[in-house]
């Protein structure tokens, strides 16, 4: 760096003359611009800055529109306007004056005018279109910002005696070509002429053009090779040297052109072998710019038709890059390797160790590039390690862009090597992965590929690898993976003939006995056992399992155990229910549960209360709230919903519930009614264990004064036991810890939102603003934000609590998709709910009216309306979509919601209902 600076200083004494006019620099610091800049630097807040600039803009406006403003003042005003625009404040009133300035006045006035115009306007701005005739458009559109000649027509400039003007004209024409290629076909000849211009600078400028349109110029290959040969061998004047490298940028440009020309073209490539060899040889001086040439050279050699000895030299060159201690070169080396490795994977082997080192490099960019490289060399053997590395990086990465990119790559690998990848993803990604991922994986397994042979191989491989896994240490496997394992074993272990079902049963029993296994996983395991249970040995295992579980607290588990017991005894019923060869045809599921109609009417006749969907129940509870003195508990029946979820997630389970008809329906109905009774009872223990409280302080407040504002389901995580054991803690430090703990508990419980409030010291007359971003972890109808403010006045501490209720609608964003995308997504989503809603009937087209009301109130996006049907889409803030399908049915709006997020359809439906009730 310093040598460059030194060179500048010695080479540019004349530049000093720029301000050698006495006072011109003084002027800059005492001028209005100087005053403005100084004013801004002295300010402390963004708000003050805004005020100052608005004032400045107002005075600027007066100044530019006043007829008495001299050209000099106008120029000065323009510079100030440019400055304001740079800071992000619009100065659109000055645009027209900038254009005027560019049209009239002396060259120097024009120069300022042109500068302002190019900074302010773009090709599409109305001023450009309305204020200019052809002559004026050219210089502006093409950013041909300023030239010393007055004639604006660029083409004439191509013949200008001065080299720099010709050069700019070439670039200007090129820009023009980019904007309107049809209108400038005649200039191709001029480009050619520019290429043979007597000045190398003009030739260099023309290379920009040829780089873009080179495909049609194969005949020029020999010319480009000749030019490069002359440049490389130092035929250019010394002035073109940069750090004693002859015209490096020119070389880079030419190498790029050659690589495009030689791609997949042997005869063209042969012409350039010599000059490439020469370039590699010559570029030996140890400077950045020679590395730039080398890098282009290597890329070119690997792009064109290959020649062995050149490839060897290039490979050596890449080695130098990768091994370099300079980090920029290492980066480029990795990039080159990534590029090259597709043709020659062996090259990566040579640099194995370096690549491994780069994986742990402190620079994220190097790491990413290494992963990119690994991604290219992924194969069946190394896949596990590579995916592991990718996921590891994914865990650390906080940058959205990187995350999206990497997830895409993992998915791409997964398509190539489904099983290995998914096993890695499951065991590492664990319970953090979206519930849709294991679902689609199981779908892939059960639907399979086109060839039956492939399918069988894949399934057998899955069974083998999972048996192996279960025989090892199972304690650390994530729950979702265990669920997948049990499904696969249940479904496919019969494929392996020499495998004794009892052995699998024993392995599965081990899972049941593990303390870490969640009750949801246990149901999966039990289902698998039900499928497997054949032969004496297995039946006895099944029996002992059932005995253990028959006293389980969990109704679903009890239900499954009961099923297992019955089916293990009745072989005929079992083979009928769970046929060995899984039928590839889709199961027909009667989602309206019409086979229950008889049962329901019987129950209703016997005096049972009619069934109400969960959201309706919530609604009613909320209305009764004013009378209630106790905080209500979660009204969504947890066990019920968990059984629903398992049912949906596993295709086999679905077959059971529809196949068992009356019997199972009765049981599940019973299950539902048991949970319904739980309402109003404090829940101390939940599925995840002891249900802790959000904030002890807030709990006290609730126990004393039941807040009429809060809606029942906000207390999902907050329902507490004895509040006395947690007295409010006045000292701020432990409280802060608690709050953090609370917020982490919050997350663990899968509750609504996570936030961490930080203690704030607020001084008199100061306003403190805190911003927190809330993200929805599990959707519910309303979210409640609670907080506490503690402050001190005259040595007394005060505490103020506050709550704020946020409906789900605050988190809903419109989701713009096409009808095709909608269709694809619709099939992929597993959580759904249906309901008939009120129609808005006062207009002509009730469907459109209704949907518009929903759109307006809930911020939804209407994808398409066809006749009596409409489709609507929205998403939660973090890209979790929900799709609505609406059609008019018997005077009501039948809505069907689907989403990959559990509970989102139900919660959203509640708001849809509310939105339409008001109309």
């Amino acid at each position: 760096m310093s040598d460059v600076v030194e060179k500048t200083l010695t080479a540019l004494p004349s530049l000093l003359s720029l301000d050698s006019q006495p006072g011109s620099a003084k002027l800059s610091s005492t001028s209005k611009l100087g005053a403005l800049i100084r004013g801004i630097t002295e300010l402390t807040s963004k708000h003050e800055e805004e005020k100052l600039i608005q004032r400045e803009l107002a005075s600027l406006k007066d100044q530019v529109s006043s007829p008495n403003t001299s050209m000099r003042q106008m120029k000065e005003a323009m510079v100030r306007a440019i400055y304001c625009e740079m800071l992000g404040y619009e100065a659109s009133f000055s645009y027209i004056h900038a254009i005027k300035l560019a049209q009239q006045g002396s060259i120097l006035d024009k120069r300022v005018g042109y500068l302002a115009v190019t900074l302010f306007l773009n090709e599409n701005h109305e001023f450009v279109l309305t204020c200019y005739d052809y002559k004026h458009i050219i210089p502006i559109i093409i950013y041909c910002v300023y030239d010393t000649c007055n004639t604006p027509l660029v083409e004439e400039k191509l013949n200008h005696p001065k080299e720099i003007i010709r050069r700019k004209a070439v670039l200007a024409l090129y820009k023009f070509y980019l904007i309107a290629p049809n209108q400038v076909q005649h200039i191709h000849n001029r480009f050619r002429k520019a290429l043979c211009d007597k000045d190398p600078g003009v030739m260099f400028a023309s290379l920009h053009i040829y780089l873009q349109m080179i495909k049609g110029y194969k005949d020029l290959t020999a010319s480009f090779v000749t030019i490069l040969k002359q440049v490389v061998s130092g035929k250019l004047p010394m002035d073109f040297n940069y750090h004693s490298v002859p015209a490096p940028w020119l070389q880079i440009q030419l190498l790029r052109i050659l690589s495009i020309l030689g791609k997949n073209d042997q005869s063209t490539s042969e012409i350039m072998y010599d000059v490439l060899d020469e370039s590699l040889k010559r570029a030996e001086i140890n400077h950045n710019i020679t590395y730039a040439i080398l890098y282009e050279c290597v890329k070119c050699i690997y792009t064109i038709y290959p020649k062995t000895d050149l490839l060897e030299k290039a490979a050596k060159c890449i080695g130098n890059f990768v091994l370099s201690s300079k980090i920029n070169l290492k980066y480029l080396g990795l990039k080159a390797l990534t590029y090259v490795v597709q043709q020659d994977p062996k090259l990566a082997l040579q640099h194995q160790m370096t690549i491994i080192e780069c994986l742990d490099h402190p620079d994220v960019i190097i790491k990413r590039e290494t992963l990119e490289l690994l991604f290219r060399i992924t194969n069946a053997q190394n896949i596990t390690v590579i995916v592991e590395k990718m996921l590891e990086f994914l865990h650390q990465s906080k940058d959205d862009h990187t995350t999206i990119d990497l997830v895409g790559k993992v998915a791409e690998i997964a398509e190539k090597y489904p099983l290995q990848t998914m096993n890695t993803v499951f065991s590492l990604g664990g319970d953090m992965i979206q519930p849709d991922i294991p679902n689609s994986f199981l779908k892939l397994l059960s639907e399979g590929f086109e060839s039956e042979e492939e399918n069988k191989k894949l399934r057998l491989f899955a069974v083998d690898s999972y048996i192996l896994l279960l025989e090892g240490e199972t304690r650390n496997l994530p729950q979702r993976f265990l669920q997948v394992i049990s499904w696969v074993l249940g479904e496919y272990s019969h494929l392996r003939n020499d495998l004794d079902p009892a052995r699998v049963m024993t392995l599965l029993t081990k899972l049941l006995e593990m303390r870490q296994t969640s009750s949801e996983t246990k149901t999966w395991v039990l289902m698998a056992m039900t499928k497997l249970c054949s032969g004496e040995a297995s039946v006895s295992i099944a029996r002992s399992v059932c005995e253990d579980l028959s006293s389980s607290m969990d109704t679903v588990q009890r239900q499954r155990a009961h099923e297992l017991l019955l089916l293990s005894q009745d072989r005929a019923l079992r083979s009928q229910l769970l046929p060995l060869c899984s039928d590839p045809e889709p199961l027909e599921v009667d989602s309206s549960l019409s086979f229950l109609d008889a049962f329901v009417s019987e129950a209703l006749a016997a005096g049972a209360a009619p069934y109400k969907p969960p959201h309706q129940r919530q609604e009613e509870l909320a209305q009764q709230k004013a009378l209630s003195l106790e905080p209500y508990e979660l009204s969504l029946p947890i066990n019920m919903s968990s059984s629903c979820v398992t049912g949906r997630q596993s295709p086999t389970l679905m077959s059971v519930s529809s196949g068992l008809s009356g019997d199972s329906a009765e049981l599940s109905h019973k299950g539902g009614s048991t949970t319904l009774k739980l309402e109003g009872v404090k829940r101390v223990w939940g599925r995840e264990g002891y249900l802790s409280k959000k904030e002890p302080v807030e709990e006290v407040a609730q126990a004393e004064i039941p807040s009429p504002l809060s809606s029942p389901n906000q207390h999902t995580g907050a329902s507490g036991t004895s509040s006395n054991t947690h007295p409010p803690i006045p000292t701020p430090e432990p409280e802060q810890e608690k709050q953090q703990l609370a917020s982490s508990l919050f997350v663990g419980l899968g509750s609504q939102s996570s936030l961490c409030l930080v203690r704030a010291d607020i001084y008199a007359l100061h306003v403190a603003v805190f911003q927190y971003s809330l993200s929805v972890i599990r959707p519910v109808v309303h979210f409640e934000v609670m907080g506490m403010l503690s402050y001190q006045s005259s040595h007394k501490s005060h505490e103020v609590e506050f709550t704020y209720k946020l409906p789900l609608t605050n988190f809903i964003r419109p989701f713009t998709v096409s009808t095709e995308q909608y269709g694809a997504m619709w099939l992929a989503f597993s959580n759904d709910t249906k309901q008939n809603l009120n129609l808005v009937t006062d207009g002509q087209d009730s469907l459109t009216d209704t949907l518009n009301v929903l759109k307006g109130k809930l911020n939804l996006h209407i994808v398409e309306i066809i006749g009596m049907e409409g489709i609507v889409a929205c998403r939660l803030a973090q890209d979790q979509p929900c799709l609505l399908h609406c059609h008019i049915h018997a005077g009501t709006l039948a809505v069907w919601l689907r989403s990959p997020v559990p509970d989102l359809p139900d919660s959203l439906l509640y708001h849809c209902q509310r939105a339409l009730e008001g109309t």
């Binding site: 500048t8 003084k26 610091s29 740079m86 599409n124 041909c144 050069r167 400028a205 710019i289 620079d363």
Partner: protein, 202 residues
Amino acid sequence: MIKAILIFNNHGKPRLIRFYQYFAEDMQQQIIRETFHLVSKRDDNVCNFLEGGSLIGGSDYKLIYRHYATLYFVFCVDSSESELGILDLIQTMQSFTFFFQVFVETLDKCFENVCELDLIFHMDKVHYILQEVVMGGMVLETNMNEIVAQVEVQNRMEKSEGGLSAAPARAVSAVKNMNLPEIPRNINIGDINIKVPSLSPF
């Protein structure tokens, strides 16, 4: 092609902004903020390249930057630019900044971060220099002597205009007719002219 050149200080305050592709005003500010966010959290001893942020065009674009004193020089380029080439170009530009710094320090020592402030005090001039280096997103000139020569010619014009400001009309014609001196290092092409043998005649 170069998509944008951004110069901002350690606090993310823009000092020189030039977009070669159109972005709406508020988008420009967002891009500046995002770029600052990406660049500022990187150490000084890591590589000078960054895969582009999400705003300016995704993975096809690279950010090539240098951190010098209180300023970040960021070039946003597409794949048709050479990484190391641009890096050297930034260095050339930085030497200009450095030059300004030295110059202003001698005149006015009031400001602590002269280097930065001077960029904005001479904002128009810095833009003119930039115009000699990059035109419409394409690298026009990389030779520093050449750039200096161009700026010099312009300065001379400015001076002569200053002297003749009393009679603007005459000044204009004078500048027009002014016989601009040859740039001292203008290339003597002579015999070592580049020959392009196989070109068909027009």
